[in-house]
């Protein structure tokens, strides 16, 4: 998959930077002055105990939530807040903590849905399914088949998603996000609720996506083993505040992180 045109950012450069972002819901301060960056081509993990603000952070990045303070710089453009469609057009795709697929539609259709933004012909043309619109659909289908092959799910291509086990649904969701050909992929607990084997499969796919498509990945995950193995760099949040940021060994040895996870005697 190609990176969207006009992107001059090369691997290692900052793709997205969050600068002193604060987010509050009434009196609840979900994020307080959080700053961190995501470099192109890396796998970046966001970890922290329950309620630390991890999902809020992802929601700010792709425009679901609008922060009260701070700014977001994506591909060199600084904004006070991201809007969901700007994020999507700009090449940010995500998966959700609880699977958010069209249960009654087949795997194929669900992943095709991820191509919506890439379709150029209007509603009328698509309704006709003729000429240029058909040619376009064939091309989209080719891309989708490539993803189906990549995720090793050809055997469930025509099966409604609702009938599939949870682990496979998660994989389909990843497929739909990949169909957008994202530059930045946000994964919200991609391995939650999985058994060991499913986790290992999913980890493999995350690495392969990063490796094969060159997609930058930011993921939230609770399984420390997985996080330490997968990520290049980790940011740790606790009660809406960033308490650590660095490579896996650095974070692992950080006393504040250990305290946040294990609790401290008062």
């Amino acid at each position: 998959m190609r990176a969207p045109a006009g992107s001059a950012i090369v691997a290692g450069d900052t793709l997205l930077a969050v600068d002193r972002v604060s987010l509050a819901f009434g009196g609840v301060r979900a994020l307080r002055d959080v700053s961190f960056d995501i470099r192109k081509g890396e796998i970046r993990a966001i970890i922290g105990p329950n309620g630390a603000g991890k999902t809020s952070m992802l929601n700010v990045v792709n425009g679901f939530y609008q922060p009260q303070r701070g700014s977001i710089t994506f591909k060199g453009v600084t904004r006070a807040k991201m809007r969901p469609f700007e994020a999507a057009r700009g090449g940010i795709a995500r998966t959700f903590q609880n699977v958010a697929l069209f249960k009654g539609m087949t795997v194929l259709d669900n992943i095709m849905a991820g191509r919506t933004l890439k379709m150029h012909r209007g509603f009328f043309w698509q309704l006709m399914r003729y000429g240029p619109a058909l040619a376009e659909e064939v091309e989209h289908r080719r891309r989708v088949e490539d993803i189906i092959d990549f995720l090793q799910i050809p055997h469930i291509r025509k099966i409604p998603v609702g009938k599939l086990p949870y682990g496979l649904q998660k994989r389909v969701e990843l497929g739909r996000a990949l169909a957008m050909e994202p530059e930045l992929l946000l994964l919200d607990e991609p391995m939650a609720g999985m058994n060991l084997e499913e986790k290992e499969d999913m980890s493999r796919f995350v690495i392969d996506v990063n490796n094969h498509y060159g997609t930058t990945i930011a993921l939230i995950e609770h399984d420390m083993g997985v996080v330490m193995d997968l990520s290049d760099r980790i940011v740790v949040l606790d009660h809406g505040v960033k308490i650590a940021d660095g490579t896996p060994p650095e974070v692992q040895g950080d006393q504040t992180v250990i305290d946040a996870y294990l609790g401290v005697a008062h």
Binding site: D146, D149, P154, H212
Partner: protein, 636 residues
């Protein structure tokens, strides 16, 4: 006439991609010369590891053109198992499918002194690997094409290489999985393979119009003959499925005309069908059972072109319309002309089920050492309990102690680097000991196989005990996936059962039985009750058959884990390794015979990624009251 016909297809990215015979020639020539550039030459062995992919079949052909000898391996073998074969065959080069196989080879590379190159098909995940010994098939073919473009004499050289090969030359080494001990390398010559393939085609009048689907392991002699040699001889098209899980769907799309499978595949089709029917609406279920009844009664007779009453024909015709046709379409067997089952004895009920549907399922008896064909059932002479008559050019005889011997043009050259074993198996005048016990049925003139010669045992009171016979009866029940019968040198017969997760899982769902794992489900008393009923039925049927009546099952248990090839409990072709199991589950075996009600067992298991773990369980044992004559007669 062949040039523009499809030779091989592969479903990739959701579409059937086809190559004509002309395309295949181009691909193979480029591949072959590319391999020569990498240093492969006459007499060298090279490994072929992966699932059924066009390029892996081409690899075999490309190597053979140079006089090199392919050694196909089971793709799901773990690295340790591969290490033995690869080292024993001293392979110079390995052609593999993907990263998984590359990883396995790299992990055992120290043991493979002769290995110079790994050639792979799919590049996914291999980007950051050390390139020194890794080459993509694409690049090998490019090497070949460049060499051809640079030097026009390369083509004449290649043709001369092909011509230099003789029929008596070693064509392939197939390592048999072996129910005991280390695998043995069966050496087959070009003559062995080609003459057998040609005779096989002649026997069933197979021609260029057949369609087959290639989904069995490349390392199995069956696949090598059916999906490779016979296709090259007759010119028919071989179809490679998209993924192992899509075989049934892919077969349906292709509509195969000639099929070959071990009994397990057919058993599985029935299990899936029965499970689905349990979930179907009442009307459909009744229709299904009614017409299956009709088929069981008349189908086989109609298929054998016997005389049947008109109303039976009408009913069968209606059944074809409503049930058999759609079912065969689901199985992908609508267009089937000849379907073989081989590799193991098939349960008579399973066999008759397919025959009843109008599928020309036949039994074949073969061996790697015979390039498959020993005996097969001719059309119209089909019996559930025989394996047929000797194939073209094959001689078969039975020794005084019951062992089957054969001699044919397909008889192997010998075991690779093992003259001792060769001498044990093959006599100087070309007869091969099959290791199977059998006899010629005086009524039909067909060969009947009872069991492996060494597996047939006797109970302490001298009664003949054929474990496989009992196991097969049990395995017909969709709820039972695998059974191990024990009784040799014992007072009575016991069985260990593996439940079928699909069938029993679906039953549990319908009956609100809650379970968290295979182990929990297997230990459920309701599951025990169900298995007990099945065994009682088997006992009754054993009794009715007289000869085996004394070997009724007295005690049984349901194993806490599925028997698995990764743990060495099944062979790679999924045959039960009885001896190994008896050793591994010794505490259970002891409990079965000392009258205990339960026993503790801890077994080491190997996960798919090669790591090991332990499963511990307390397994319950139940007694079965043997069926007696009076009760059976009442029931009948």
């Amino acid at each position: 006439m062949f040039a523009t016909r499809a030779a091989i297809r592969h479903k990739d990215l959701g579409i059937w991609q086809a190559w004509t015979w002309r395309d295949v020639r181009d691909e193979v020539v480029a591949f072959s010369i590319g391999l020569a550039e990498l240093g492969l030459g006459r007499g060298d062995r090279f490994a072929v590891i992966g699932r059924n992919k066009p390029r892996l079949y081409w690899a075999m052909c490309a190597g053979q053109a140079l006089g090199a000898v392919p050694v196909p391996l089971y793709a799901d073998s773990v690295a340790d198992e591969m290490a033995f074969v690869l080292a024993h065959a001293e392979v110079k080069l390995a052609v593999v499918e993907d990263q998984e196989q590359v990883d396995k080879i790299l992990s055992i590379k120290d043991k493979l002194a002769a290995l110079t190159h790994i050639v792979y098909d799919e590049s996914r995940g291999l980007r950051d690997y050390d390139r020194a010994q890794l080459t993509a098939i694409d690049d090998v073919q490019r090497l070949g094409r460049e060499a051809l473009a640079r030097d026009a004499t390369r083509m004449t050289w290649w043709e001369a290489e092909v011509a230099a090969g003789k029929g008596s030359d070693l064509a392939i080494i197939l390592y048999t999985s072996g129910t005991t001990g280390r695998p043995k390398g069966v050496m087959l010559s070009h003559d062995n393979v080609l003459i057998s393939a040609r005779n096989g085609n002649a026997y069933d009048r197979l021609d260029v119009n057949e369609e087959v689907i290639a989904y069995l392991p490349l390392a199995w002699v069956g696949d090598h003959i059916f999906s490779y040699a016979q296709s090259y001889d007759a010119g028919f098209c071989v179809n490679c499925p998209e993924a192992p899980e899509t075989v049934v769907e892919d077969r349906r799309e292709i509509g195969t005309t000639y099929a070959f499978a071990p009994p397990r595949i057919y058993e599985n089709l029935i299990t899936v069908t029965m499970v689905r029917m349990e979930d179907a609406s009442a009307l459909k279920r009744r229709m299904f059972h009614f017409f299956i009844g009709v088929a069981r009664r008349w189908g086989e007779k109609i298929l054998n072109k016997e005389r049947v009453p008109v109303y039976a024909r009408l009913l069968y015709w209606l059944g074809e319309l409503l049930v058999y046709g759609p079912l065969k379409n689901r199985f992908g067997l609508s267009r089937i002309r000849v379907a073989y089952t081989a590799g193991e004895a098939i349960g008579p009920e399973i066999f008759r089920f397919f025959r009843a549907l109008g599928i020309n399922l036949k039994q074949l008896y073969g061996a790697t050492e015979a390039s498959v064909y020993i005996t097969a059932q001719p059309d119209g002479e089909i019996y559930a309990d025989t394996v047929g008559k000797p194939n073209i050019d094959v001689e078969v005889k039975v020794t005084d102690d019951g062992e089957v011997l054969f001699r044919s043009p397909g008889v192997f050259l010998g075991y690779y680097k093992d003259p001792e074993k060769t001498a044990e198996t093959k006599t100087p005048d070309g007869w091969v000991r099959s290791g199977d016990a059998g006899f010629f049925d005086p009524k039909t003139g067909h060969l009947k196989i009872i069991d492996r010669a060494k597996d047939v045992g006797r109970l302490n009171d001298g009664t003949l005990f054929a474990p496989k016979y009992i196991e097969n009866k049990l395995k017909f029940y969709p709820n039972i996936k695998e059974a191990v019968a024990l009784g040799d040198k014992r007072d009575f017969v016991c069985v260990m059962v593996n439940i079928d997760m699909t069938a029993v899982g679906s039953w549990a769902e319908r009956n609100n039985v809650v379970y968290g794992s295979y182990q929990e489900l297997a230990a459920n008393p309701a599951v025990y009750d169900m298995i007990e009923r099945h065994i009682e039925e088997v006992n009754r049927s054993l009794l009715l058959e007289g000869l085996m009546g004394a070997t009724q099952i007295r005690r049984f248990l349901v194993l806490h884990k599925e028997l698995d090839a990764d743990d060495g409990e099944l062979t790679r072709t999924l045959k039960v390794r009885r001896g190994f199991i008896a050793e591994r589950y010794a505490p259970l075996l002891k409990a079965l015979y000392d009258g205990s009600r339960e026993a503790d067992i801890a077994t080491e298991v190997t996960f798919e990624d090669g790591r090991k773990g332990t499963i511990a369980a307390r397994v319950k044992i139940r007694d079965i009251k043997p069926a007696d004559v009076s009760r059976v007669e009442k029931a009948a």
